[in-house]
Amino acid sequence: MGQIQLSKVTKKFGDLTVIPPLDLQIEDGEFVVFVGPSGCGKSTLLRLIAGLEDVSGGQVLIDGQDATMVPPARRGLAMVFQSYALYPHMSVRKNIAFPLRMAKMDQAEQDRRVTQAAEVLNLTDYLERRPGQLSGGQRQRVAIGRAIVREPQAFLFDEPLSNLDAALRVGMRLEISELHKRLATTMIYVTHDQVEAMTMADKIVVLQAGRIEQVGSPLELYRTPRNTFVAGFIGSPKMNLLSGAQAEKHGAHTIGIRPEHLLISTESGEWEGTVGVSEHLGSDTFFHVNCPGFADPLTVRASGEMDLKYKSRVFLTPDPAHLHRFDAQGLRVE
């Protein structure tokens, strides 16, 4: 079982409060992603759960048991580090077997688990190699193998894909998701990449400056962001956030409209502007439209067939059903 509960957890480094009192409930078997800009405290939060950092206040409960003072090894959690942290002088086999060896498990059981993990992760041919002889993706898999042989209550991933190239990242993302489906173990995953968060998570926790901005499923966060920070952070390209006269027209301090909810036309529409940069992805085209009276250019998603010249005149119409309104504090107004 892998239910984790944080209750009034705080972390201070000297006078600096990195995490103000924070509550969070993680259910058994969930894939939870902590996402936020760099320095938002998401890695610190993960390390608090792992026990690699001591909390300054509050409690960490694992399966209802107070684990606040329990050393990392006895929390029943396994962690995959950003640098993989493989032991360079040991073969892949020994790396994967290391936690079992430390637990003084008998050799036959060790071999059985290592062989099984190697099969799951396609590492069977590499068991006798050293980490230095493996590619980035293979090292990543060894690190995951070292975590799964322990059959932990929960897996902790600290930005595991940030050292891989883009193509490999997409592949590993899928592999980790599949692993979660198969093992059905709680996983906590830290990333700064909102695409990883959206594609992998059952539940996303958006963090900023140590505070939780919003918790919810990817689509909940996408459809009903609780505040302007979440609205701007989740989704790619970013939601267009407008304030001033245009927002007041809709009775809000700030309004937000996603690029796919703006209708672009060359004949007529609510806002008039000129096309700036266009980004052609093939399936879609993103236009950056400069409208007079708007501080920033608006991003608009159009179909891939649409082709507009630089500086050509266009009209934009926001879809009123998908208009997000926020008050002066940045909070959502229904």
């Binding site: 792992a50 690699l52 050393p71 990392p72 090894a73 006895r74 959690l77 396994a78 962690m79 580090f81 950003q82 640098s83 942290a85 493989l86 032991y87 360079p88 002088h89 040991m90 290391f98 936690p99 430390m102 637990a103 050293r130 230095g132 070292r146 322990r150």
Partner: protein, 288 residues
Amino acid sequence: MATQHSRSAARVMMAPAVILLLGWMLVPLTMTLYFSFKKYLPLRGGDLGWVGFENYVRFVSSSSFWPAIWTTLIIVGGVLAITVVLGILLAILLDQPMWGQGIVRILVIAPFFVMPTVSGLVWKNMFMDANNGFLAHLWRAFGAEPVQWLSQASLPSIVMIVSWQWLPFATLILLTAIQSLDSEQIEAAEMDGARKFSRFRFIVLPHLARAITVVVLIQTIFLLGIFAEIFVTTGGAFGTKTLTYLIFQRVLESQNVGLGSAGGVYAIILANIIAVFLMRIVGKNLDA
């Protein structure tokens, strides 16, 4: 761009340095070999002609030869063991965050800057003197009879002095190696259930293997030739005569240059045997 022309120019430019270094090595080596086949007694008739391998036979058959070899090996081995073990412990200690770390580190390195002759004398007169030495006072404070360090425990005393000199070197190399250890590896081992000692045994020690190799190789080269520490303390008495010291005695005290030169050739052979041996054992640590 390395064209044909610039390559030959480079060769010409480097030639003086190469020739100088080669000469620096070859001239003494040739002279040693030349004298080792001669009966050459500067104060008793000078050059008395070729004698073939007589010097070599005499040097080895002398009753001092094997004891000198053993003494040399004991000193080298003892100092290596002490400096590596204590060096690792000190390096771990110095790696801990503490107040005044910078100053402590400089203090630890300090013995390395003391000249061998000076440190030998300091140890002999200030620490090991049986009447006024610090250790004698310490022994008396506990009601014990002071030890006559340099006569009763001469070899351990020499090992102690030399270890004190070389400990900073070992510590420094090992400290930098420890500092280069990825902290995530230690954390991963911690998560994997390795306790403090296991983390040291399975993560830190293998990481230090290469640094330990470097320490052992470099120290061995220098320790085979220690001389000043013995000269100013025991003067080669009480079983502290190393191969180097024996050669010195043959050449300067007995005024027998031929015999000493033969000893020198043996020293070269010994050093090479040990070097090959070491490279075999520890060389694999240096690659990968």
